[in-house]
Assembly symmetry: none
Homo-oligomer: 409 residues x 2
């Protein structure tokens, strides 16, 4: 038996007047999801616990059976792992923006004109930096998509309780990074980081990529702004924990990072953008191949519905859900327990995650099929699973797959 | 957005043959509660956890997001705070009865003829006591309603693991108070308390209120009987915890005490008796005023249904629920998340609290309205909330009010 968990990011929502009191998922035409609901057992799930506004990262960790309150140290480590950096427990990781600073170090563009090319060359320059007086700290820097990048500091005596450099608005200098807990470890990190920000400007201002950009009338990517510090946690490998060979198909660095940190094979999908314009056919083909391969477990994340929710794009969300539905036609098989759910609600009315529970449906040979006939937030609540938590999902799946030890006699 | 939690104390019940298998809530005509259920999302709630027989105090703490297993040290501290005493963490608080003792210190009336007046004068006399050899212990004493009072001991090295003085039956002397854990701290409390009981008789026997009572043929309130010891806990203020300016409308000292200890404004309501004879119009007016004021959060407790349950008064319980229903007509508003529930079941067949779950309905602009059309223990179980715990309520409410921090990214 194989287990598949498909997470449609941010799909769940709240009732909307514009939809006559329906949610986008209720309003969307989803014959394949409805068939999954009808042939399976349904319920609602609190990714972490009722009312808690889960992030995608904390929710995925919880659904995979990891306690986010113990494992989640910040977004940095997951983003860093997501771009393929081989981070190690104890590393301090950050998300970064490439930004534009003027000669007085005032940030004039927080995203360096949404730079799209040349960032790998800039990243290599940062990656070779050393900070005088802190030669024991290795600086690892890698570009991500667009103006995004990740930074990892590796070395003795570094803490992760530090503030962000990103001033969040333009027209201001980078914020001075401070040790939030006053510890010598975090002070060391803050000092190194302040130096990196300052010296990044000095080594990037005349970087060939930037001189080229300036010649073309584009804003240069001449400074980096770190934020989201976190010490890389020790995460037990998924295969060691559950005895399942696992793969992860995800679009965003954040979820890929969870795949990497839990030791899954992370399968890159060409044309996967993480937006509503993503290539769903390409994702479908990747899923089919992975199911046909020798994996025992597959984690799938499709991100567009969340993006539409954050953008308040009602029509886009409904349409994207319908497009996702269209690839679900023939993914099931007799030897698969398939779980369809979301990681959190991203209501278009709120334009951010909320703590509402999400629908969950489980199909497979031996589930206790219930009376639910459509896949939605409210229909699911009447299902046979009643209300569960994200942390229950792996236990339920492993039990169905007959992979659990008996507790007792 | 404002949040209102209205708790109808002990409203939930069990099916009764006399009601053709319905519960008092099912049998009562409750058009307004049904409208709330119909326009909201419903479920059943275990105030603490399934099968736990919650007290009103422990249930309210749980619903407000405080762990009763950590915060609840006994009834004394909440009763003491409820009469308006400014108790401090570490104080040892007790509930007391004014009682009648004869010359051999035998209790002849545990409630001093249900004394109704003059207790404040008697209380002032106790309040000025000092115990020789224990001059470091401040004795704070305040009358409550009827024959009830509270006692607080403040000073160094006092413990709260002590037995009660109340013999529970008449014809016996006060019980000797003992240190239950054998600690020097509890022994000190027990010694002080035994002295207070004994010396209360000495200073009250000829008290002018008592000589007056004896002249009128009434039993004197000439001794105090402490019970329900508890060290006043440290309780984080509600406003600090949640960022919500909060008020509490309650009838009983116990729930007012929870309001005081959590730092809410406790609004006194004239004519509120805590019984089925309470002035519900007056309570309704207080609620309307509080909703119109600048509070973000309102806790309301109405007590009569619990009293009727304890009295085994089926008809009284049904009628009281109907009277409560009648004041719920126009309390809602567009900017309110309103939660209607109970703190526990007080079945008239049991005449005490039971561990059955209670119905809960949440109305407000963005809830996922379900198919439930009436408010009752059983109808609620089919609702979209499924089964939650008291400790989930504040998280769910804060999320709906958009007051929660996101955990993760």
């Amino acid at each position: 038996m194989k287990g598949v968990i498909m997470i449609i990011d941010g799909m769940a929502d709240r009732p909307l007047e514009k939809l006559s009191g329906r949610t986008p998922l209720e309003a969307a035409s989803t014959p394949n999801m409805d068939r999954i609901a009808e042939s399976g057992i349904n319920g609602i799930m609190d990714p972490i616990k009722p009312g808690v506004r889960a992030g995608s990262d904390t929710s995925h960790l919880s659904i995979l059976g990891y306690d986010p309150y113990r494992v989640y140290t910040g977004r940095g480590p997951f983003e860093a792992a997501g771009v393929g950096l081989d981070v190690k427990p104890g590393d301090i990781a950050f998300r970064c923006n490439f930004a534009t600073a003027d000669e007085d170090m005032i940030i004039t563009d927080r995203r360096a004109g949404r730079i799209r090319s040349g960032t790998s060359s800039i990243a290599r320059t940062i990656n070779s930096m050393t900070i005088e007086g802190f030669e024991d700290v290795e600086i690892i820097f890698r570009e991500s998509t667009g103006h995004r990048a990740v930074l990892v500091l590796r070395g003795p005596g570094l803490g992760d309780k530090v503030s962000d450099a990103d001033p969040k608005v333009e027209g201001k200098p980078p914020k001075k990074i401070k040790a939030l807990d006053g510890s010598p470890e975090s002070r060391k990190t803050a000092e190194v980081l302040n130096r990196i920000v300052k010296e990044s400007y000095e080594i990037l201002r005349d970087h060939p990529v930037n001189t080229g950009r300036i010649e073309r009338g584009e804003t240069p990517a001449n400074i980096i702004l770190p934020r989201g510090a976190g010490a890389v946690p020790h995460v037990e490998k998924f295969q060691e924990r559950y005895g399942l060979k696992a793969a992860c198909i995800a679009e965003t660095g954040l979820i890929k990072g969870i795949g990497h940190l839990t030791g899954m094979d992370v399968i890159d999908v060409e044309g996967a953008t993480g937006g509503i314009d993503t290539d769903l056919e390409s994702i479908k083909n990747a899923i089919s191949s992975a199911i046909a391969a020798d994996y025992d477990f597959l984690l799938i994340n499709i991100d567009g519905a969340d993006e539409a929710g954050h953008d308040g794009d009602l029509e886009g969300k409904v349409r994207f859900i319908e497009r996702v539905d269209s690839i679900l036609g023939d993914l099931m098989g007799d030897d698969i327990y398939f779980i369809l759910t979301a990681d959190h609600s991203t209501p278009v009315s709120v334009m951010d995650h909320t703590g509402d529970p999400v629908p969950i449906a489980i199909t497979g040979p031996e589930v206790r099929v219930d009376d639910v006939t459509s896949f939605s937030e409210r229909a699911a609540a009447a299902g046979g699973l009643c209300r569960i938590r994200g942390s229950d999902v792996m236990d339920i799946l492993l039990d169905l797959m007959n992979k659990k030890e008996k507790f007792g006699a």
